[in-house]
């Protein structure tokens, strides 16, 4: 018991009901008692509950995440920090990460998405990196579900509202609709920043007596137990949880960003961390954990937005736009001066200690004392049971011979181009500032976004990708394909992958079938990462994406970054000029299992995802990149959702002026499969006829099958003998496919 400034605060008694309400199991509570050597008090119980939540502790996923390859020649910082960092040469490095904000975005789409963006931005500038680009991977329910329009509008406005205001370009991403997300949407935000290799900061607390400094917004009651919410499934009544969603203030974050980067040019700080999930508690204990130190906080010094907040609330608040830093003793006034310039609070609220304890005081009276290890390294970790779902075998059964081929393939192509998953996403990215910072070489809408690196000839290509339908049908293959396609996207602009970050969105880990999916996806990702030589440098796991025990499809989202040595050589996916030759790299097979065609035209999600040979995948990618680097190609576009016909149509209509094409393919497979099969390891390129031999030479060297399939030109999209439509008409259908369904 102790006195707060304005009211009496009595720590409520810790009862079994209170323990359960904090989401802790009986076993976990026993573990707490063992770690403390006594029963915890109310405040300590709150601290344990957030630090041992799935969201903060990764207790169900750690065992499997170990399997991901995280090392590479250029990796400067792997998983475990605020973001991963990769060396790009010339004394520069990039920091990047992706994070989910799924639950809050479903409850309050604008603020949920906005604060998701705010959180990932802080993760990046915490490392000392100037954020240069954001991407978002979005999943909504069926386009005609009554909530979809509201959620989509709110999420997009929230992402734009935050990113535009803080002045970091949002360079697109991806957006899919499927009924499996009707009650659990996914909002995964990715940000990349640029940092000098010798000025990377980490979240570490070291040096006994060094001050612990709180900067940024004041602390309010918003978001208390956000981390715990993210670690539970939804049920009808949880939608009532609006107060646990935080409210974003991008203006304050802009000030915080500029102030932190200014501070980082000096030598005043030891470590710095964003107060994200579990706020002050996680930032302080994780920093102390990494430094092998202890930390002592005087909670009555924390700047508060509301009166009468208890130590419990102060420790667990998830108010946005706050950072915790450990300064060098004696530089406090210098640090404060910088924050004053930007009109921000900077308050010393504690110091680093040498006892490896987390100690929280209220007006000098101790209110919590917990060994740091118990909250970090010794947090529970489970190897949860995993079993193959009973439906797995059944959903893979699919007999293509029994599927009736559409009589009118013109109509089929039109339908597919207007499908919300394939149609133009311009309505979305038009709401995002994608020019600010004046680096955007390839704007949203292409396979990958490209930015230049000022002062160099280099560029960076960025993509986010994932196909959950494949993962549902075969999570191992789905995991492979997610990584492979992200890397292929980069190859299509001429970039070589240097690292990836992931957001692993799944149902409840307590469901053995979900756990099996998780394990399989990780194994698949591992295989692809090794084959394509891409290390995983950061990431995030989001479990409990399920409502009333129905999980979403397993949805790993891959964010991948590629390096471009000569930025003026990049190409876009769109055809450039009449007379250019169209070439298909790779081979088309009768693979319609899990395809967009099967789903949108036949309403079927069955079969096995396309087959992949990772050696061939790697060869196709290298062939494409090399051809771009040698200035052989005019355009390159990955064949994915909707197959070759959709990819070709996009090449015709995605650019500023639509251009026709005439294709003659000699593959002897059924028509709908030739047009819409999603066979992997395929890229459509266009080039001047005089470069054809050069491409043949490169393809032969990599052992990549290539076939000249047609010529650019004319007003029509012609795929002999199956399809013949005007490109203007296709452009109209594709441009309005999404917006016409949102009215």
């Amino acid at each position: 018991m102790f006195e707060a400034a304005s009211h009496q605060f009595i720590q409520p008694a810790v009862t079994p009901e209170l323990v359960a309400a904090h989401g802790l199991s009986t076993d976990e509570y026993e573990k707490i008692i063992k770690a403390l050597g006594r029963e915890p008090n109310y405040t300590e119980l709150g601290v344990f509950s957030v630090m041992w939540s799935e969201h903060c502790s990764y207790k169900s996923s750690r065992y499997y995440l170990k399997n991901l390859p995280t090392e590479g020649r250029h990796v400067l910082q792997g998983p475990g920090e605020n973001a991963g960092v990769v060396d790009i040469g010339g004394g520069l490095a990039v920091a990047f990460k992706m994070e989910s904000h799924n639950h809050p975005s479903f409850i309050e789409p604008y603020q949920g998405a906005a604060t998701g963006v705010g959180g990932i931005l802080r993760d990046i500038f915490t490392m000392g990196a100037r954020p240069l680009a954001s991407l978002d991977s979005l999943r909504f329910g069926a386009i005609d579900h009554p909530r979809t329009r509201y959620l989509l509008s709110g999420v997009v406005a929230g992402i734009g509202g935050y990113g535009n205001c803080i002045g970091v370009p949002t360079l697109g991403g991806e957006c899919y609709f499927d009924e499996c997300y009707n009650a659990n949407i996914l909002v995964n935000a990715f940000t990349l920043g640029l940092v000098k290799k010798n000025r990377i900061f980490t979240g570490i607390a070291r040096g006994t007596g060094n001050p612990v400094i709180y900067v940024g917004s004041k602390t309010g009651r918003d978001g208390i137990h956000g981390a715990t919410m993210a670690s539970e499934s939804f049920s009808e009544e949880k939608e009532q949880r609006r107060p646990t969603v935080q409210v974003g203030d991008p203006f304050t974050e802009k000030l915080l960003l500029e102030a932190c980067l200014e501070l980082m040019e000096k030598d005043f700080i030891i470590g710095i961390q964003d107060m994200g999930a579990a706020g002050l508690t996680s930032s302080s204990t994780e920093m102390a954990g990494r430094g092998g130190a202890g930390i002592e906080l005087e909670l009555s010094a924390v700047p508060l937005r509301e009166k009468g907040m208890t130590p419990y609330e102060i420790l667990l608040s998830e108010s946005q736009e706050r950072m915790l830093l450990v300064g060098r003793r004696g530089t406090e006034s210098e640090i404060k001066k910088i924050f004053e310039k930007w009109d921000l609070d900077a308050v010393v609220i504690g110091e680093v200690t040498d006892d490896q304890q987390f100690r929280a005081l209220w007006q000098k009276h101790e209110v919590a004392r917990i060994p740091i290890r118990a909250l970090t390294k010794d947090a529970p970790a489970y190897q949860r049971p995993a079993t193959r779902p009973v439906y797995q075998e059944q959903v893979q059964q699919f007999d293509l011979a029994k599927l009736k081929e559409p009589g009118d393939l013109n109509a089929a192509l039109k339908q597919l181009l207007g499908a919300p998953n394939i149609a133009s996403k311009e309505w979305i990215y038009r709401q995002y500032d994608h020019y600010v910072r004046a680096n955007t070489v390839i704007a949203p809408g292409a396979d990958a976004a490209v930015i230049r690196i000022k002062g160099t000839h280099k560029g960076l290509a960025l993509t986010v990708d994932g196909n959950s339908r494949y993962c549902y049908l075969d999570p191992y293959v789905g995991g492979v394909l997610a990584v492979a396609e992200a890397a292929r996207n980069l190859a299509c602009v001429g970039a070589r992958p240097i690292g990836l970050t992931d957001c692993l969105n799944f149902g409840s880990p307590e469901n053995p079938e979900v756990m099996w999916q998780f394990a399989q996806v990780i194994q698949g990702m591992r295989s692809a990462c090794l084959a394509l030589n891409v290390p995983v440098v950061s990431g995030n796991v989001s479990f409990y994406n399920e409502t009333d025990s129905v999980p979403i499809y397993p949805t790993p989202t891959i964010g991948m970054v590629g390096l471009i040595e000569k930025i003026d050589r990049v190409v876009t996916p769109w055809f450039k000029a009449s007379g250019d030759i169209v070439v298909l790299l790779g081979r088309t097979r009768e693979e319609l299992g899990g395809s967009e065609y099967l789903k949108w035209l036949h309403g079927v999600t069955r079969g096995t995802p396309p087959w992949i040979d990772l050696k061939m995948e790697s060869a196709v990618q290298r062939c494409c990149t090399e051809a771009i680097e040698q200035e052989v190609l005019c355009s390159a576009h990955d064949v994915s959702d909707g197959g070759m016909a959709v990819a070709l149509a996009e090449c015709c209509i995605g650019g500023e002026k639509p251009l026709g094409v005439r294709i003659e393919s000699r593959e002897m497979i059924r028509g709908d499969a030739l047009l819409f099969s999603e066979s992997q390891s395929r890229i459509i390129v266009s080039l001047k006829e005089e470069n054809l031999d050069k491409l043949r030479e490169i393809a032969a060297r990599h052992n990549v099958p290539m076939q000249a399939i047609g010529t650019v030109g004319g007003p029509r999209f012609i795929f002999e003998p199956l399809v013949q439509v005007s490109v203007e008409e296709l452009k109209g259908i594709w441009s309005t496919g999404l917006t016409s369904r949102l009215k």
Partner: protein, 236 residues
């Protein structure tokens, strides 16, 4: 040519203007802080884009009270060149240096896209190097870029030929579909009567390199530089 670029709290495009002036155009630039008084010799002061003070109130309504704005007003009144881009245009309208106001886009959403602009007048320093009717291509990115002025103000804008840029289609026609935000008479940029203060919603600083898709923004900046080579700037 001496440029001054002001950073307000929440300015986002200040770095873009500074970088393109220095790197792409080889200009001398001084970075100015909103809390300071305007001091020194300048030929052109730039108020960049962004979200000054978060624009939680009307856009630009807070920034006009920044200490540096006293000096900017004086500089403008003495004939110095002042350029406001996007949020800078909004601040110039709020501070009364330019007539009219910028309100919410008619589509009610933030828009980011490249637009075509037509040069309407060339007897202001900002467009002196360009040709009447010339088309420029650069991006717009704003939620509140719909230019509005009452009939009387519009009449005087027309009479004094203060409308320097209009949104047009690729063929140079000021059509409704070429107007991204619902601005009255497709107005994209105006100057004051004395022709030394210019505000525009599109972003020339994002169109100063072929790599980024357009160099037309550089034409505006170089127009200013050319004009300054033959005019005397006031000392504040």
């Amino acid at each position: 040519m001496r440029w001054g670029v002001i950073t307000f709290p929440g300015s986002c495009d200040d770095h873009d203007v500074i970088d393109c002036l220095k790197t792409d155009l080889g200009q001398k630039v001084k970075v100015l802080w909103h809390k300071d008084e305007l001091a020194g010799n300048f030929d052109c002061i730039v108020l960049p884009g962004g979200f000054s003070y978060g624009d939680y109130l009307r856009c630009g309504a807070m920034a006009r009270f920044s200490p540096i704005m006293r000096g900017v007003m004086k500089f403008a009144q003495s004939g110095g060149l002042v350029l406001g881009v996007c949020n800078g245009f909004q601040i110039l309208c709020e501070s009364g240096l330019l007539p009219g106001a910028l309100v919410r886009n008619t589509g009610l959403r933030f828009i980011c896209q490249p637009v075509h602009l037509r040069v309407e007048e060339t007897d202001a320093p900002f467009t002196s190097n360009l040709k009447k009717g010339q088309l420029l291509r650069m991006p717009v990115k704003h939620g509140e870029g719909c230019y509005y002025a009452d009939a009387k103000t519009l009449e005087s804008l027309r009479k004094n030929r203060q409308i320097l840029l209009r949104y047009v289609d690729a063929k140079g026609k000021p059509t409704a579909t070429a107007n991204p935000n619902g601005s009255v008479e497709n107005i994209a940029g105006i100057c004051n009567q004395a022709r030394n203060v210019f505000g525009l919603m599109p972003h020339p600083e994002d169109a100063c390199s072929a790599l980024l898709g357009s160099e037309d923004g550089a034409k505006l900046f170089m127009s200013i530089a050319a004009a300054c080579a033959v005019r005397v700037s006031p000392h504040v």
